[in-house]
């Protein structure tokens, strides 16, 4: 895999991870409810 492709894959993984942490830590645990 070329360096550029690797960075591209990592960037998508990063976005998915952020979204998953957001959904898991904050929304799923109901900590955002007010």
């Amino acid at each position: 895999m070329k360096k550029k492709e690797l960075i591209q894959t990592l960037s998508w993984l990063w976005l998915i991870a952020i979204l998953a942490i957001w959904g898991g830590v904050f929304v799923e645990t109901n900590k955002l409810l007010a």
Partner: protein, 483 residues
């Protein structure tokens, strides 16, 4: 925030996306989050599941709209940049967009519309142009039906961009394709929608109208408020100078400077940038101007959060300008990395702080008490009302008698209802069976002289709340009469 969910649940029991059975707030929900909530209420009974899935879906829709905009702008590095829309240091953005799911429809419509204008400018495909034209016009009309917000943050600034573009005589490939007519039609479409909102919809549905807005003398304080609001949305916060807050605040100020530099680059003729970039910078500047002037010259109620729907455009403005500067590739990469890491760092700091806060632990105890004692109807002030309904999966119905911190005293007039984000039939219908009255400790202390029920009548209390339970509505009334 729970009010939007109750509206979604109400709509899932009715046809359509609008209802006369709901007191709306500042705007009529037309193309808004209630559609998503409504859809998921068809599939799930758990309100928590509906909130959870709707939150993810709404964020995904926002990211999808952002992807489309970035593609049209030809701006590279979407995943890294898009992560800034979820992970950033702004407390305000966190509370309003990520937590409350507010303004996501407005942001999406803006992302899509700007993206479609750029695609319309670029494409030679007549059929595609016609389709885009139709979608944009329809979207402007539907947006106008909801109220003024989308007009103020999108359609009016676009019209001003058009005027400035003509005055300054900016030319280039991108101005072909009659986008000027498009902007005019979209503005007229949104105004037509707003006219329908005022003249027709307001007669059927109950929401706050902004027809009483008046001009006022110019106040420098308003400009200061707008400026501070922008800083806070960028992540600036008050706090101890010898703490991480200093790092976050330096980041927020640096971001503001970066936005200003990007705007200058985007507007200056000396900088060799694409016309799409110039168009985006013009739009951002005009949105900022309209927003500032609106609150400086009118008596429109101001809140920091109102700047979120257009300030979110600072993200593509900054990164597109970095991409198009004439710096060497390594310098660009370096800038890119520093900015992204700063934003992520602020975001992680905020997440780490927020993950330990459970704002509903106390009211969950109230909800559990009420459910275990089969008390499902009662009264509370605004911020303690709808949340009880959400936490109890709709089992508990709350008559909101006054805004939190308001002066209305439940013990003086149980029939008075706060016409804000609750069922309209609460005006005429009274709770049946056992009735509760929920007060926060602050509300109880403030009202203690007027509270007719004795402390001995308190059914439940914890560190935050005091709960009274009566046999029925008449018993509550007798309690009031007792004084």
């Amino acid at each position: 925030m729970s009010g939007e969910l109750i509206l979604g649940e109400l709509l899932s029991r009715e046809k359509g996306i609008l209802t006369e059975k709901w007191f709306y707030s500042t705007e009529l929900r037309v193309l808004n989050t209630q559609i998503i909530f409504k859809i998921f209420f068809y599939f799930f009974e758990s309100w928590h599941t509906v909130r959870w899935i709707s939150s993810i879906v709404l964020i995904l829709i926002m990211l999808g709209s952002f992807y489309y905009l970035m593609k049209q702008l030809n701006c590279k590095g979407f995943p890294f940049i898009a992560a800034c829309l979820i992970l950033n240091p702004s407390t305000l953005y966190f509370d309003v967009v990520l937590k409350g799911l507010y303004y996501i429809p407005h942001i999406c419509i803006s992302f899509l519309t700007i993206g479609m204008i750029i695609q319309y400018m670029k494409t030679d495909n007549i059929l595609l142009k016609k389709i885009l034209f139709f979608i944009m016009t329809a979207l402007s009309l539907i947006s106008g039906l909801g109220g003024l917000r989308q007009i103020v943050i999108l359609y009016l600034p676009l019209l001003i961009v058009l005027i400035l573009w003509k005055i300054l005589g900016i030319r280039g490939n991108v101005v072909s394709g009659k986008w000027n007519i498009l902007c005019e039609i979209m503005f007229l479409g949104s105004m037509l929608g707003y006219l329908i909102n005022i003249k027709v919809l307001s007669k059927r549905f109950i929401y706050k109208k902004f027809t009483e807005i008046e001009y006022k003398d110019f106040e420098l304080d308003s400009v200061t408020s707008v400026f501070n609001g922008i800083l806070h949305t960028l992540g600036y916060r008050n706090g101890n100078i010898f703490s991480v807050v200093s790092v976050i605040n330096v980041g927020a100020i640096a971001l503001l400077v970066l936005i200003l530099i990007s705007l200058l680059a985007g507007l200056s003729r000396r900088c060799r940038i694409s016309n799409t970039n110039r168009f985006l910078s013009f739009y951002f500047l005009c949105a900022l101007l309209v927003f500032t002037l609106l609150y400086s010259f009118t008596n429109m109620e101001y809140s920091n959060r109102y700047n979120v729907p257009f300030l979110v455009f600072s993200v593509p403005v900054i990164f597109l300008n970095i991409q198009e500067t004439e710096f060497s590739r390594n310098i660009k990469k370096c800038l890119y990395t520093i900015i992204l890491i700063s934003i992520y760092f602020g975001g992680l700091y905020q997440w780490n702080f927020r993950k330990n806060i459970d704002t509903t632990s106390q009211i969950k105890e109230v909800s559990e008490y009420l459910l275990s004692h089969e008390v499902s109807k009662g009264y509370s002030t605004f911020w303690n009302g709808n949340v009880l309904t959400e936490l109890s999966d709709g089992e508990i119905e709350v008559w909101v008698h006054s805004p939190t911190g308001g002066e209305t005293n439940i013990w003086e007039n149980t029939d008075e209802i706060y016409p804000w984000l609750q069922y309209t039939d609460h005006v005429n219908n009274r709770p049946r069976g056992k009735v509760f009255v929920l007060l926060s400790k602050e509300e109880y202390d403030a009202l203690v002289e007027n509270v007719m029920a004795e402390w001995a009548d308190v059914a439940f209390s914890n560190d935050t709340y005091v709960l009274f339970v009566f046999d029925d509505y008449d018993d509550l009334q007798r309690s009031v009469a007792r004084g």
